[in-house]
Point group: C2
Chain length 460, copies 2
């Protein structure tokens, strides 16, 4: 810490009623434009993906990543750097192989879905029954499904806002439980993804309403195309499937937290972050190495500019992928603290094109300085009331205001939850635009004394 900052901190602490000093639009613009030359977000993403690689929730790699994060955040000069651990149910992926045995013998490429059950050790062979959508599966006659391998082939279209992931993603989220309850031997789904590569998309699902775990896996899109074509020939299709996934007790996960102490501790926390864990197939570059990197780099630009009014808290959440355990644990520990606003970056690193908010109606005019600071980056203002972030769900439900800087998601689901989520997919120029956007947003919200919440009646 510089002598100047120490003096400023001492002076601020000495005031019983510190006067908030808002960042001027000029100060914000200067910080934003300087952040367009940011190198830290790339350094963090490159370091985390290279020196740790995949960071599956509860794995040794995730634990190494926490230590890596602590060292990095301390070296950057943040305060109160710490790990908050918690236990999670641990799922082991094992192996997943599949082969069409009739009528056209050939291998298929697939990956188990989170919490998938296992086949018998020697695999299972069964006839395939195909469905175009989840609704078709829901309407199926159990007698037709019983003992078969269900295949649901609903395709997902790319979209800038990623909105198809909600409905189409339900094939993954709900399909396995529905198939299990219908008596299926296993379920294969078309990957919830928009690419055309032999890189299947994993992702979590839970066995709801007491559904018995069955083997559940996603075919890559070209393999799903292939199985569709094979089924269209009209002959009975059999697949031999081996999945050795299993639940393997409890393992430790954790959140990594760092702060910039604000001048006014009572002004509430500005929470920013992403998630440190990743799926195990790729190296978690865009999901979500860049999320922790962008938000940390932006906070660093604020830190270097001098002490903000409010405390900025950076959280690198653990175990997001398997059910936002990090977000839940954070809420349980910190719900009594005043959170001024929270924002998560968890949608890759392509350019931010929109910012959305979830603040009180009274606070909507206070969004104008943010909008003004973001517009030069080509970022337009969306609606109030719709912003979210998966690790922020509990905070949002409790009334904490949310800001979302929405990235262009057109190619996000090409890579999401696949082996292809690697550093080469990050565009350094777009990454820098993200850092500039977050820096500008933080410059305003960490210094504006206006209250944004609590927000009630806007939960969707």
């Amino acid at each position: 810490m510089s002598r100047f900052k120490m003096l400023a901190l001492a002076a601020a602490s000495a005031l019983s009623f510190p006067l908030p000093v808002q960042a001027s639009p000029e100060q914000t613009a200067r910080l934003r434009d300087a952040a367009l030359a940011d190198t830290l977000a790339w350094d963090i993403t490159e370091g985390l993906t290279t020196e740790i690689g995949q960071r599956k929730a509860g794995s040794d790699a995730e634990a190494r990543a926490r230590d890596w994060a602590v060292a990095k955040l301390k070296a950057l000069g943040f305060s109160n750097v710490r790990i908050e651990t918690f236990d999670i149910p641990y799922w082991e992926r094992g192996i997943a192989t599949a082969e069409i045995t009739a009528p056209f013998p050939q291998q298929l490429i697939l990956t188990a879905l989170g919490n998938s059950g296992a086949t018998p050790d020697k695999g299972l062979t069964a006839e395939v029954i195909g469905f175009d959508s989840l609704d078709e599966l829901k309407a199926a006659d159990p007698a037709a499904v019983k003992g078969k391998i269900v295949f649901v082939t609903h395709r997902m279209a790319p979209a800038q806002d990623g909105s198809p992931y909600g409905p189409v993603g339900n094939v993954r989220r709900q399909g396995p439980s529905i198939a299990s309850k219908l008596g299926a031997a296993a379920i294969l789904i078309r990957s919830i993804g928009t690419d055309h590569h032999r890189v299947p998309h994993t992702g979590v699902q839970d066995w709801s309403n007491g559904a018995k775990p069955i083997p559940a896996a996603a075919l890559s899109n070209p393999d799903a195309d292939q199985l569709e074509r094979v089924l269209k020939r009209g002959k009975p299709v059999s697949i031999a499937l081996t999945i050795t996934a299993k639940m393997a007790g409890k393992r430790q996960s954790g959140n990594v937290i760092a702060e910039i102490t604000g001048r006014d501790p009572a002004a509430g926390i500005v929470l920013v972050g992403g998630h440190l864990d990743s799926w195990d197939l790729g190296t978690g570059a865009i999901d979500d190495g860049t999320g922790v990197a962008i938000t940390t780099a932006a906070a660093k630009h604020i830190l270097d500019a001098g002490q903000p009014l409010r405390t900025i808290r950076i959280v690198w959440f653990g175990s997001e992928e398997i059910g936002s355990f990090g977000g839940t644990n954070y809420f349980d520990r910190h719900k009594a603290e005043k959170h001024h606003v929270a924002a998560e970056s968890d949608f890759g690193a392509d350019r931010v094109w929109r910012f959305e908010t979830r603040v009180t109606d009274a606070a909507v005019p206070a969004m104008k300085p943010i909008a003004a600071a973001l517009l030069p980056l080509g970022i337009v203002q969306g609606h109030n009331g719709t912003a979210d972030g998966s690790d922020l769900d509990e905070l949002a439900k409790s009334g904490v205001p949310i800001i979302a800087l929405s990235q262009d998601g057109t190619r996000y689901f090409d890579l999401h939850h696949t082996a292809d989520d690697t550093l080469d997919k990050v565009d350094p120029a777009q990454l820098r635009q993200n850092v500039a956007a977050w820096t500008a947003m933080l410059s305003v919200v960490a210094n504006d004394p206006t209250e944004y919440g609590p927000v009630t009646g806007k939960t969707e």
Copy 2:
């Protein structure tokens, strides 16, 4: 066969010295334009990749593909449909896994190269020594390489004519033997490919000059990027490698042949084709399902238009990928027959942009009608003397003229020899342009009485 065609055939056979009837430019243009609506090339590619899938040289799948081909070629009305079998040395891929064990533990994705040796059953762990190019490896001190895992990371750039595949491909073709002779424990190369996906590129290599087989594999491009970054950290890097590949005796392969009998058997054979075998990782859509499909569809358009002057022979070569065994076997059996010209399609299915030739200087003017017929498809004329085709090497060396319809190869090496070589990568519109180009070319060369060869002194 239609009554008209039967009569025409009978009339032609009745002539002791049949008068060659050249296809008029108008006839050729009409055939070409009709072929732009072709559906057969898609049907063949779709059928072969769906009903057979991968067709590795010597595999049961390749044998099924030959039977599939015979049925298809007979159903299309071609004559003299037959299989010519031969034996090949069979290489089993087994499994290939790799893990960086220090300093940053993580899995890498790789695939064994053709004819790779195996590690011990439990794998081997060794330090990695990196090289930027084959020349750097060649110049290495054996003492520095001995017992290590060699890594050569030369990158290949995309190019319309695919020319980087020659020099950069030597990393795969020669690297393993060079590393072996330097005493390396194994060799990993950056995939010979231009994509950014976790789909490594396999391909053949031979153990030259008595080099002892060692484990030899290609990392996907993102994995090669990763290993480069890890090495640049400057700490010793160790990898645990398991490859269970092995040579497994002789297996049967074969060529599938079909013909359109020409009006003048003495006028020589116009040979067209592609290769039926594929690598085992994908379904051999662009390499080379489309090659056999395009040439067969073009021949079918000629067949349906009436008997040509010369015999058109379609060859679906076997075992090209592991060393052009089909081409060699074809030459050994058929070298005594007069071949007027030969042409192979084996560079994907993107649009033909250039046609090149290897004919006598005297025959160069006879290329003009071909050029005129191709130009409306946007195809420009290249040089005389440079055309080739891997299954045609022996024919070319013996003086048989060659015509090459060069496809745009800009994205070919994104897919080549990977799991991603699947039907969805074929653009139906560009595939039809290929069929039109081949139809136009065949219409001219099968009917023009001009001799194109024999060609001497043009072998490169």
